[in-house]
């Protein structure tokens, strides 16, 4: 088969998996009906626990990304639970299609769901924590959200595939994922603080962190596409 034909086949598989995952979400509405309220509740609980407007404004960036990462576990487990319940993942595997295309399709679908979640969480932070952002800060914030969620999408799909169908996956996934996403938490929090001007941070300081987020996404995009197949292979 020619290279262009292989690329086209990969793109078709990736887009089919992407559409399938989003269609399942559109029909089941688990993210909108369960994960979004859960993430919103985390934001409210943080406000109860910290109980100080100044502190909340200062740490708002970190709270947004913590809520995103906690929600990531639920979305990933839900996505792979559907794929493994009727051995759908096994069917994809034995169908002989390129598993790196499945990885990209699922990762992009997950990224899109995380972006939607972050839009709501940032909106909640504006309402609950009274944060403010300048026009230049919005550009940084949007770039940060796209880069950070892309990295989370790749790494979430990779480790979700590993734990799919295994006993104790509910506890194993956070154990494996939390150390890996630590750079995203640090970098996205600092970039968001720079965008919001928390603790006197300058907007220019945020772009270096966005660079780290981009490197993370690139590393796990390439690493994930190579490792996903061997990880889920029987």
């Amino acid at each position: 088969m020619k290279k262009t034909a292989i690329k086209t086949a990969k793109r078709r598989v990736a887009s089919a998996v992407f559409i399938k995952d989003l269609r399942i979400e559109a029909r089941s509405r688990v993210v909108t009906n369960q994960v979004l309220p859960f993430a919103g509740l985390i934001m409210v609980m943080f406000a109860f626990a910290l109980d100080n407007d100044d502190v909340l404004q200062r740490v708002a960036g970190g709270l947004i990304w913590l809520a995103t990462i906690f929600s990531l576990f639920i979305i990933v487990q839900r996505s792979f639970a559907i794929d493994t319940s009727d051995s759908a993942l096994d069917s994809l595997r034995v169908a002989g299609i390129d598993l790196s295309a499945v990885f990209f399709g699922k990762a992009v679908a997950l990224t899109l769901q995380l972006i939607a979640l972050d839009v709501v969480l940032i909106g909640a932070a504006f309402l609950l924590y009274q944060i403010q952002v300048s026009a230049l800060g919005v550009v940084l914030l949007v770039t940060c959200v796209v880069c950070a969620t892309t990295g989370l999408g790749f790494v979430g799909t990779l480790y979700g595939g590993l734990t799919a169908g295994t006993n104790g996956r509910e506890t194993l996934l956070p154990l494996l994922l939390l150390p890996v996403v630590a750079p995203v938490l640090i970098a996205a929090t600092r970039a968001t603080e720079a965008a919001l001007g928390s603790s006197g941070a300058e907007i220019s300081e945020g772009w270096a962190w966005v660079g780290l987020l981009t490197i993370f996404a690139a590393v796990f995009g390439v690493g994930g596409s190579l490792a996903f197949g061997p990880l889920i292979d029987e």
Partner: protein, 250 residues
């Protein structure tokens, strides 16, 4: 695929492991006596400097163990013949590495309490070390997942190689975040040694002794893993044979 034959050895000891074990005992006895009795207390740090004779070699062995895990995993994945021997070496090395990493963190915390006044500081090297520990605890959890030994080998090899990608990212993100750890004190930027001769010798023999402990543990542990895999396989074979006999008798 595991060999169906019975294991050729009834214990995990060989002539080589006994020699390594004897050498380990001799070197570690010297380190113990020299570290606690012969070497002087530090001018600034006082008696707490003796923690260094355990802390530095433990950290060295932990990092060495994780490097061995990564290399053995790479050999398993990329070699034409996916030998389970590489997988067992990788798993044994990770187990020993986790143990020495815990010793590193505990001794480092004790030293930090005496020197900095705190058990823990959010310093890049400390934080990266803690993340390294959690990462390899996760690696060991992956090794215990359901599935065949081949599945275990493939999954854990991929996780070990992903850890190689992850660790620099964690380290650099935490370095940007903040820095406090004591800089290297044995060598200054010009390469001149700034340590009492006996202290330095004890430290180096400590590194050699702990490395011998690592080698001895790896040799034994990978053999116990082989025995465990063979025992599981023979149990499965026996169960299959019993079912076949049942069908014949019917």
């Amino acid at each position: 695929m595991l060999s169906q034959s019975a294991p050729k050895f009834s214990s995990t000891g060989t002539q080589a492991t006994r020699i390594v074990g004897a050498l380990t005992i001799i070197v570690m006895t010297w380190v113990l006596i020299s570290g606690l009795v012969f070497t002087p207390a530090d001018v600034v740090q006082g008696e707490s400097v003796r923690i260094m004779y355990v802390h530095v070699p433990s950290a060295w062995v932990a990092y060495l163990a994780f490097i061995v895990t990564a290399i053995a995993s790479a050999f398993y994945i990329f070699a034409k013949r996916h030998s389970l021997g590489f997988d067992r070496v990788a798993g044994a090395s990770a187990e020993v590495g986790v143990m020495f990493m815990v010793i590193t963190l505990v001794t480092g915390s004790l030293w930090g309490r005496l020197t900095w006044g705190e058990f823990w500081q959010w310093d890049p090297r400390l934080t990266t070390t803690a993340f390294l520990l959690v990462t390899y605890v996760g690696y060991l959890a992956v090794r215990r997942l359901d599935g065949s030994v081949e599945q275990r080998a493939r999954r854990s090899a991929v996780i070990a190689l992903l850890a190689v990608l992850e660790i620099p990212l964690v380290h650099f993100s935490v370095v940007f975040w903040r820095s406090l750890h004591q800089r290297a004190t044995i060598l200054d930027p010009n390469g001149d040694v700034k340590m009492d001769g006996l202290m330095l010798f004890t430290l180096f023999t400590g590194v050699v002794g702990f490395t011998l402990v690592f080698v001895w543990l790896i040799l034994h542990r990978q053999r116990t893993m082989l025995l465990s895999d063979l025992a599981n396989q023979s149990g499965l074979d026996a169960a299959i044979l019993a079912r076949q006999n049942e069908s014949v008798s019917i």
